[in-house]
């Protein structure tokens, strides 16, 4: 029984992926503090590495057309273990939604509205999130199209305006980093922006062009990556070694823009784009959390769960970290290891299990 009746097009899936990757630029500051100017190399390396895991995700999803991660778990792991694995994934998606909501609230209270409590941003954000997710996948799927285009246009626009401030010496020296830091930063890249794309395994069945899912998924991934790498290269070229000092380097770069004293202080544009991107990203995670729960409890539709889960996300977003420093520590040192379970280990077990079942038949 289908819990979600709405469908999105392949192109909307692609734009959702682009926006999702763009929203993860928040994570870049963690990694920048580890590898400084070599960041672009680490990102390019993990970009190639992730193709292996995406191949696994897509192979599993396309083997069971019309079924999402929760339904696939039920088939492959059996009813009881399948439900436990699904619950773990739902918890993982819920956690990402709460952590991202906290991040955006921290950003707004630290940079734009100093002195205003996090709760104000969390509540106002949560209300819009609940309203949007109640309207279904189609609503935020459609929203992602203009936002992704706006993202790309702004990236090109800001890059062009800052070219005069580029210093190519900022990229040197290369690889002046410890091996453990390379590993940690690669792990962070896998865990935060790229690995979180496992969430789309919940959305694949609701794409109308099932045969083109693979194409649009990879296309979104490649376009999102190009956009991300342009931003990273631009930030390193402009800021150099001090990139890691900023919570959001792109914000700082936009602050530097000065075209004949006319186009100045463009950082607010970055803040607005970041707000939109994070909004879509949290929407995706809130949506898959409630969708997963509704499927787990065999409900006819998921809408009654959006409000309680939205409230739980808001409460935990406000209380899970004592400060943004604690969030930064946890995000850089603990979460990447924890996320590997959901991003790498369980999908590999699922993949092996799928082939064992296929051959035993």
């Amino acid at each position: 029984m289908k819990v979600e009746k709405g469908i999105i097009s392949g192109k909307q899936l692609m734009f959702l992926i682009i926006v999702h990757l763009q929203a993860s630029t928040l994570a870049i500051s963690f990694i920048a503090s580890l590898v400084n100017q070599s960041l672009w190399i680490i990102i390019s390396f993990t970009f190639i590495l992730m193709f292996i895991f995406f191949w696994i995700y897509l192979k599993i999803s396309l083997q069971f057309p019309g079924l999402n991660l929760i339904e696939i778990n039920d088939i492959l792991y059996g009813k009881i273990i399948g439900k436990v694995v699904s619950l773990l994934y739902i918890y993982f998606f819920w956690y990402i939604a709460a952590a991202n909501l906290r991040f955006i609230a921290d950003f707004f209270s630290a940079f734009l509205y100093q002195g205003i409590s996090n709760s104000v941003f969390i509540i106002s954000f949560a209300l819009v999130l609940v309203y949007t997710v109640r309207n279904g996948l189609e609503t935020f799927g459609r929203c992602s199209v203009p936002l992704a285009i706006l993202n790309i246009v702004l990236t090109i626009f800001i890059t062009i305006l800052t070219i005069k401030d580029w210093n190519l010496k900022n990229f040197l020296p290369l690889f002046n980093i410890e091996l453990i830091k390379i590993l940690q930063s690669a792990n962070l890249m896998i865990a935060i922006p790229f690995g979180e794309m496992i969430v789309f395994m919940m959305i694949f069945p609701y794409v109308n062009e099932q045969t083109k899912v693979k194409k649009y998924f990879y296309l979104g991934y490649i376009i999102g990556f190009i956009n991300l790498i342009i931003i990273i290269i631009r930030n390193i070229a402009v800021l150099g070694n001090i990139t890691s000092l900023y919570l959001l380097p792109s914000f700082q770069v936009a602050r530097i823009i000065n075209v004949g004293e006319i186009i100045v202080r463009a950082e607010i544009v970055i803040a607005v784009v970041l707000l939109f991107n994070s909004f879509i990203k949290i929407c995706i995670f809130l949506y898959v959390t409630v969708l997963g729960l509704a499927q787990l409890f065999r409900m006819k539709y998921y809408k009654p769960l959006v409000l309680p889960i939205g409230v739980l996300i808001s409460v935990f977003a406000d209380s899970m970290y004592n400060s943004s420093t604690e969030h930064g520590y946890s995000g850089a040192n603990i979460y990447p290891v924890y996320a590997l379970l959901f991003i790498i280990f369980i999908p590999i077990i699922t993949f092996i299990l799928m082939y064992i079942k296929k051959f035993s038949k």
């Binding site: 918890y91 956690y95 709460a98 709760s119 509540i123 949560a126 209300l127 453990i180 940690q184 729960l293 409890f297 065999r298 409900m299 006819k300 539709y301 809408k303 009654p304 769960l305 409000l307 309680p308 889960i309 409230v311 739980l312 808001s314 409460v315 935990f316 406000d318 209380s319 899970m320 970290y321 520590y329 946890s330 850089a332 040192n333 603990i334 979460y335 990447p336 290891v337 924890y338």
Partner: protein, 71 residues
């Protein structure tokens, strides 16, 4: 958060009413459980009472149990 509580109570009431009108009893049962959990956590938070923290659980698993944290 009190604002959220008020909005939550009003929206929750409307939600439950709709489910009763449509006679979706199973959905009513499940959503009532989640609405109650959300209400308990919201009240705990408003009254500054200790809340279970998913971050502590994650830290315990990775740091104390597996010793796999980076720093």
């Amino acid at each position: 958060m009190i604002v959220l509580l008020i909005i939550f109570l009003i929206s929750g009431f409307v939600e439950v009413k709709q489910l009763i009108n449509k006679k979706f009893w199973h959905e009513l049962k499940v959503s009532s459980i989640f609405l109650s959990i959300a209400l308990i956590f919201l009240l705990l938070y408003i009254f500054n009472l200790p809340l279970p923290n998913p971050v502590r659980l994650m830290e315990y698993e990775v740091k104390d149990l597996l010793h796999l944290n980076y720093k």
